[in-house]
Amino acid sequence: MSAPLLRVKDLTRLYGARVGCRDVSFDLWPGEVMGIVGESGSGKTTLLSCLSARLEPTAGSVQYDVRGQGLTDIYIMGEPRRRMLMRTDWGIVHQNPRDGLRMGVSAGANVGERLMAVGARHYGDIRARADEWLGKVEIESERLDDLPLTFSGGMLQRLQIARNLVTHPRLVFMDEPTGGLDVSVQARLLDLLRRLVTDLNLAAIIVTHDLAVARLLAHRLMVMKNGEVVESGLTDQVLDDPHHPYTQLLVSSVLMP
């Protein structure tokens, strides 16, 4: 492993005079999970959108290790290739699963659609793979033909994860994947994510404001405040020995149950 999967340099996104995020630089390596933490409005989601080719940055670059080509700037490569990347090598898990799913087609079709986008055509195979993936995210086979409308919040989120991972992406972006779920449902989802990320050797960038989620899933952390990265490092080091005043405040503000 001589090259990073993602190389981000001096990434800046301004909204007029206001700063979304500023001067963010880092390398992400294959299999590495990075958490981005910070309060609402700190620029986490803006940064995630810029990284995942959904929001053009004002300055700076995002380079991705395209198979067979090496590091390539994702905003220079052109729309068709960028779309292909998002359909095959990447996954995007939205906070609200309704944003990442098609609510009008069956659970199986939601998973199968990603496979068809990368060329699968055999109906029986697609159905079998979709069924297999529902199993991996602990959704019973008998729900394969049901509409997502009939699913609970936790099931929807698991379905969205299956839809994203079925094509074996190398990099997954997640925005508050456990936000808005009951704690018992969260624990199940976290355990599932932790296992899938390890088994598939996925690289992931996870935005969360929940430090416990970050500790469980992320190898390393970036702490953001007012659009800038104020501290970064190994997850347990940042949380157990925070240096920046803002990180210290964040860590000391968590209530213990």
């Binding site: 932790r194 080091q237 157990d240 020995d241 005043p245």
Partner: protein
């Protein structure tokens, strides 16, 4: 014998920004070398920085100055300056840590919690579970608990699961943060045995032991911290 750990002029001060920016100096210019087969005990009064030094060695605490050179994969890695992924590689293959407290993960059974460090370095599931079972049995965790997640175990049981996990992979370096605190005499004796076996196998150990009996039994050298 080659040193497994070389600590050079290490300094650490905590600065508490949320409490008026108070500075708490912990230690300064600490030097320490540990070779394989040794068990070095950090000794000193409460607050002298024993746990902080141990946590610095593991990369959990960030020192202000100095180096922590750890022998890993035929070279030296400076834990104080390494990238997160390099520190994680050192932890996976070279350096284990046993604390008093288990950070339980929901839904993962005790047997897998203990087997996990072996699975992480590619040991087949059955072999890893076999080794885990052997350690849990030695530490007297009843077999009926092995398939359960340790979140519901008693404090003492969780601690012993954590000890089993720490010793499972047989890392060349092992850091022990009061592993025997609050254990009964029989379990304490098992931990002493495990430490002796690790020493005999050439492991470099660094530990903090509150218990005089354990400290005297296992230490090959005392590193005094004055505070």
């Amino acid at each position: 014998m080659t040193a497994m750990i070389r600590v050079e002029t290490l300094s650490k001060t905590y600065v508490l920004h949320t409490q008026g920016g108070v500075s708490i100096p912990v230690f300064a210019d600490a030097d320490l070398e540990v070779a394989g087969g040794e068990c070095v005990t950090l000794h000193g009064p409460s607050g002298s920085g024993k746990s902080t030094l141990l946590r610095c060695l593991y990369g959990n605490c960030k020192p202000d100055a100095g180096a922590i050179r750890v022998r890993h994969d035929g070279a030296e890695v400076d834990i104080a300056a390494a990238d997160p992924r390099d520190v994680l590689a050192v932890r996976k293959h070279t350096m284990g840590y046993v604390s008093q407290f288990l950070r339980a993960i929901p839904r993962v059974p005790a047997l897998d919690v203990v087997a996990e460090p072996l699975r992480a370095v590619g040991v087949p599931a059955e072999t890893a579970r076999g080794r885990a079972a052997e350690l849990l049995a030695r530490l007297r965790i009843p077999e009926r608990l092995w398939a359960l997640a340790p979140a519901t175990f008693s404090g003492g049981e969780q601690q012993r699961v954590n000890i089993a996990r720490g010793f499972a992979a047989g890392h060349p370096i092992l850091l022990l943060d009061e592993p025997t605190a609050s254990l009964d005499a029989r379990n304490r004796a098992v931990v002493i045995e495990l430490i002796e076996e690790a020493k005999a196998a050439g492991t470099a150990l660094v530990g903090v032991f509150h218990d005089d009996e354990v400290r005297e039994a296992v230490s090959t050298r005392i590193f005094s911290m004055l505070g």
